[in-house]
């Protein structure tokens, strides 16, 4: 079977726009959650989010800025960084086997907002001619494919919070099956708009600042957790067939060894234990890794009451007694919930944990919850000799993805 490895990574995040900056912030517990600056957030009960420190004008031409919604802008910038990191410069003969698989939950949310404001707020029936190319969900994939000269199979996967984990998993299969040799895989989302934030607020799952402190509002697995914080960003990885990567002398971060995907087929928002547990089991079986070999789990860990308790039970069900000793952390405490980009950005966190031998802690953890009884690495970062890791992403709608990576 063809093996697939990661040879490059690019990121746009609330914690910085290089993998090194991002990982350093995770280790140092620097939070990217603060008061919203993108718009007047005074109409929100909790006017906070994890906005990316991203100024598109520093990276893109006037024409690109005009053509791309913020979610596509972030995808293009992250993909350029990932390609630079990988050292892969496609030759003409390689383009047909070079693809782009990205995830996005919201597509062009900023464009939708501007268009509806013009339409309903200003009574204006004449919308910008680029509205459709800006807002279509596949705009990010198309922009990246054009920018990178990738002419192979390309897709945009929209499965809410699991979008980019599914995109990476499906890209793994596309390379394994021989349809492509290299794929830019990951995702991006820019959901920090007033309407999207108000929709989340209506579900009563958003975290509020504690004692006026926005930065520690998201407290995954902690007894006092009070919800999730919406974030924005992009995470893109260069997935490459192992022999092709070796042949060009590429630096290999990890092997993407396994992928499990399941559907709860139950409640639209309340997650099941069985669905996520089976996704993890499938990822391990696909990777041919025993549960005991997993040295780190980057949890979905949103910080909601329900998710964190259910995910805890699912981890126990999936890996049995190995759950007693495996470190499980949620980096969302610091970078927020990047929605369609979450799976990719958190996989990058897991890869860097293996590469650096350091497990980022679960920040803001203050008190144990009897329903969350795993080792969440509260306190400080921890050294590790872990050789393999899992990264979980579970979407509203009950669509689950788990990715297994191991050192090569």
């Amino acid at each position: 079977m063809r093996r697939v490895v990661v040879t490059g990574m690019g990121i746009v995040s609330p914690l910085g726009n290089t993998p090194e900056e991002f990982f350093h912030a995770l280790i140092e517990k620097k939070s990217g959650v603060r008061r919203i600056t993108a718009f007047d957030a005074s109409r929100l009960a909790a006017p906070i989010a994890a906005e990316a420190a991203f100024n598109a004008t520093e990276h893109l031409s006037a024409k690109e800025l005009d053509l791309y919604d913020r979610f596509a802008q972030m995808a293009v910038v992250a993909s350029r960084a990932a390609l630079r990191d990988s050292g892969f410069v496609p030759r003409d003969a390689e383009r047909a086997r070079f693809g782009v698989y990205l995830g996005s939950a919201y597509g062009g949310a900023v464009t939708y907002d501007a268009s509806y404001y013009a339409l309903y707020g200003q009574g204006n029936d004449r919308l910008h001619p680029l509205s459709i190319p800006r807002l279509m969900h596949n705009a990010s994939t198309s922009a990246v494919a054009t920018d990178a000269g990738a002419q192979g199979p390309s897709l945009l996967i929209s499965t809410a919070c699991a979008s980019s984990a599914h995109a990476i998993g499906e890209a793994l299969h596309a390379i394994r099956s021989g349809r492509a040799d290299r794929i830019l895989a990951g995702g991006s989302d820019a959901p920090v708009t007033l309407p999207v934030m108000l929709c989340w607020q209506a579900m009563r799952v958003l975290a509020a600042p504690s004692n006026g402190n926005a930065s520690s509002a998201c407290r995954p697995f902690s007894a006092d957790r009070c919800g999730l914080v919406v974030g924005e960003g992009a995470g893109i990885l260069v997935l490459e067939e192992y022999e092709a990567a070796r042949a060009r002398g590429a630096h290999i971060y990890v092997e993407v060894a396994g992928y499990g995907a399941t559907s709860d087929a139950a409640h639209i928002t309340h997650p099941s234990v069985a669905g996520p547990a089976e996704a993890m089991r499938l990822a391990l079986a696909d990777a041919k890794l025993p549960a005991e070999s997993i040295g780190y789990i980057n949890a979905h860990g949103t910080g909601t009451k329900v998710n964190d308790a259910v995910e805890t039970r699912a981890i126990r069900e999936a890996i049995g007694s190995a759950a007693e000793s495996v470190p499980v952390t949620s980096t969302k405490a610091l970078h927020g919930h990047l929605m369609g980009a979450a799976g990719a950005v958190e996989l990058i966190a897991a890869i860097l944990a293996l590469a650096n031998g350091v497990i980022p802690p679960t920040a803001h953890y203050t008190a144990a919850d009897p329903e969350c009884n795993l080792d969440y690495v509260p306190g400080d970062a921890r050294e590790t000799k872990a050789q393999a890791a899992l990264s979980n992403s579970f979407a509203f709608g009950g669509l689950n993805a788990s990715l297994a990576v191991r050192k090569v």
């Binding site: 024409k63 005009d66 009574g123 204006n124 004449r126 910008h128 001619p129 680029l130």
Partner: protein, 85 residues
């Protein structure tokens, strides 16, 4: 600023091209303006001049010069148009 100068300003903003007065007679094809560029430029012109360009005229325009001529023969009717952006 005369009509032509205002059109060139729109082309710079919406079409991302800087044209000289001598280039105004060129066709959109010669300028490398594709159909999407053209609708963006016409959108900008509607906004700049407060006019509504009918579909048949929009399809007929093959050069900047033709657009300028049409604008010179068409009084501004701001009430008919409230362009967005």
């Amino acid at each position: 600023m005369n009509v032509q100068d205002r059109v060139l300003k729109v082309i710079a903003a919406e079409g991302h091209r800087t044209l000289t007065a001598e280039e105004v007679g060129k066709s959109f094809d010669e300028m490398g303006v594709d159909s999407l560029d053209k609708v963006c430029i016409l959108f900008g012109i509607e906004k700049e001049f407060g006019v509504s360009i009918p579909e048949d005229a929009a399809r007929r325009f093959a050069s900047v010069h033709q657009v300028v001529e049409w604008l010179n023969g068409t009084p501004a009717t701001p009430d008919q148009a409230q362009p967005a952006d």
